[in-house]
């Protein structure tokens, strides 16, 4: 699950991580008030108006503006950003509508660094990465100059060691140019140590501060906050529900999630309903292999009830872009009769206006096939998944 920068910074604040003073705003009037408050409190006339969307690259896309002309100018800039379709390299060509803003105090920046924590799947550890190349895309740095990225792996038995934090601090030359280098280094050590604790306690899957700045007077401050949560940990984080921004989520994907299904929207016109994520991905692949285009990824999982299958099938039936449906089931935990009953129930309720191909195999397969046969619905049976893919692609082309 993704959250906004301002929400990430609120979490940072709870852990004592240094952030600029900032105020989230939903209207341009709020921006004007916020700018005035920040200017008065800090004595610095500079504020930054930032679009709040989940995707990165907001600055380059024109969603982050430094304002030197006071609250009135901040309001004017805000009116340009609020409501805009912000296009970045991470949003896709349509971009994302900006509905929330964050107004922050301006800082006197001496250096911009990169700090990130991620799950290293190969080492099976949380990796803490730091680089002197702050403010740029880290993937680019990793590709072009990987020696500029310092990495420390966190041993879960000890947490982030003080010696590891110091390795990073001296490796980055944190104290260089600072008025009191020892103190700046100490601040950095505090920051990475707290960040490592936060990552684990908050069940993050990713945490990036890009840039982490060193100010001219030698303070370490997180200028950005990008936090992704591990969806698997939702059950022990009731507070995440409030942080979710529905406007950033695909509504069908969200509905599926609340029903307990895994659903991802794609661009094609052949809807899929499958049990098992690997088989669901393979079903998308084989539809393309057969000359068609999948409309979605949908894994009903092994424990799905008839109701969940019914809801899942309705989701596909309700989609206007779907011109044909392929149900591909190899039942292990999932029983073929449960699938069959769900398909029949959903179809009887909504009606079937597009071709439907069903391939059943595995647990209770004969019972499942019988339910479909007796339903009276126009369903094409497939012997295996290639046969099924070919049949649905042909049926959609013929329609």
């Amino acid at each position: 699950m993704k959250i906004h920068e301002y929400q990430g910074k609120q979490i940072f604040q709870r852990y004592g991580l240094p952030i600029p003073k900032g105020i989230p705003c939903m209207t341009v009037d709020e921006v004007e008030k916020a700018a005035k408050k920040l200017i008065d409190e800090t004595g610095n006339p500079v504020v930054v108006v930032k679009a709040q969307i989940h995707a990165g690259g907001r600055g380059k896309g024109g969603g982050v503006k430094v304002v030197k002309g006071g609250p009135a100018e901040a309001k004017k800039i805000a009116s340009q950003i609020l409501g805009m379709q912000l296009v970045t390299h991470q949003t896709g060509p349509a971009g994302q509508k900006v509905r929330r803003l964050y107004v922050e105090q301006g800082l006197d920046i001496a250096r911009e660094l990169y700090l990130g924590l991620v799950v290293d799947r190969e080492k099976r550890r949380i990796a803490l990465m730091a680089s002197t190349e702050g403010g740029v895309e880290i993937e680019k740095v990793a590709e072009e100059s990987p020696e500029k990225i310092l990495t420390e792996h966190i041993d879960p038995a000890i947490g982030l060691g003080g010696f590891q934090a110091r390795k990073l601090a001296f490796g980055l030359g944190i104290g260089k140019g600072a008025p009191k280098p020892k103190e700046t280094i100490a601040e950095f050590v505090q920051v990475v140590t707290k960040l490592a604790t936060m990552f684990e306690k908050e069940d993050c899957s990713l945490c990036e501060i890009n840039p982490l700045v060193v100010t001219k007077d030698g303070h370490i401050i997180a200028l950005d906050a990008k936090i992704n949560f591990d969806d698997n940990a939702e059950g022990r984080h009731k507070e995440w529900a409030e942080l979710m921004d529905k406007d950033e989520e695909d509504p069908v994907e969200l509905e599926a999630k609340t029903t307990g299904l895994n659903y991802v929207s794609l661009d094609g016109d052949i809807g899929c309903l499958v049990n098992g994520a690997g088989l669901a991905m393979a079903t998308m692949d084989i539809i393309q292999h057969a000359g068609g285009a999948p409309a979605n990824f949908l894994d009903v999982g092994g424990g799905a009830t008839k109701d969940q299958v019914t809801k899942a099938f309705k989701m596909i039936l309700s989609s206007s872009k779907v011109k044909g449906i392929f149900v591909n089931i190899f039942g292990g935990i999932m029983k073929c009769d449960v699938i069959a009953e769900g398909v029949v129930a959903a179809t009887k309720e909504l009606g079937l206006k597009v071709p439907l191909v069903v391939r059943l195999e595995g647990t209770n397969v004969e019972l499942g096939k019988e339910i479909l046969r007796n339903s009276g619905l126009k369903i094409q049976a497939a012997d295996n998944m290639l046969d099924g893919a070919k049949k649905i692609v042909a049926a959609v082309k013929a329609a």
Binding site: Q90, V119, R121, E122, R124, R125, I126, I138, E139, A142, D155, P156, A157, F199, E200, D203, S205, D230, D231, N232, A233, G235, R236, N262, V264, L266, V274, N275, G276, A277, G278, L279, A280, M281, A282, T283, M284, D285, I286, I287, Q288, H289, P294, F297, D299, G301, G302, G303, F330, G331, G332, I333, E361, G362, T363, N384, M385, L386
Partner: protein, 299 residues
Amino acid sequence: MSVLVGKDTKVVIQGITGGAGSFHAAQCIAYGTQIVAGCTPNRGGETFEATGPGGKKVGVPVFDTVAESVKQTGADTSCIFVPALGAADSILEAIDAGIKLIVCITEGIPVVDMIRVRRVLETSNSRLIGPNCPGIITPGACKLGIMPGHIHLPGKYGVVSRSGTLTYEAVGQLTALGMGQSTCIGIGGDPVGGMDFIDCLKLYNDDPNTEGVIMIGEIGGNAEERAAAWIKANMKKPVAGFIAGTTAPPGKRMGHAGAIISGGKGTATDKIRALVAAGVKVAPSPAEMGTTLQSMLKG
């Protein structure tokens, strides 16, 4: 012959009294797996009733702890059907009780929990399969998990996979071709877990009864690429492969927690390229996994 599990494997089912645990324990017992104990805290003293192959009645004693299960029954293998937020602790309990092979079916374990489990595993004598996996089966001898037993056929070919249902596809295809399976291992769909492709391929490589392997991967991480390097340097038997997710969009979690293309890394294309370079024949579609392995045996 087989790898890891066989007729002598003695199993304790952790979570035997729950919905999933009870259903699948009954199915495994019916298949002929030696389930010698069940474990659910506070249900110790109960008996789990089931029916073995040929209609034989089986009564499995239930204990409060894995340690007690092992002490009373000599169980050496465990299969975990415990809900996600308690499952990591169940794995740790099994390690602590001296269980040699732990199979964790549970999906949804938080990744930081698994990172801790992994740390403990590294200095233990236990092996972990999973989590978020269908389990392991040596056809005709021991079914330990949720796979449909009836599609399997005892034989000489191994199947190792990150996906449960794609494993069934491969098995279905192999059985239809008369190519029985030695042992099928589901390593699971999570980003951090137990045995990976290399660990399983090593076992198949050393197993006199296994003559070829199907390896099924998917997007996310670099386990397949690392396996490819190992195969090139070490594997003495033919490996056919399939990678799911050629059509998966970047940045989206495709069901499995580990199936996500991040920062351009972990694409199906990259994995296929690495496997092909290592001499693995990659099936062009999921319907051709069996025939692809078959073609490697003839030529």
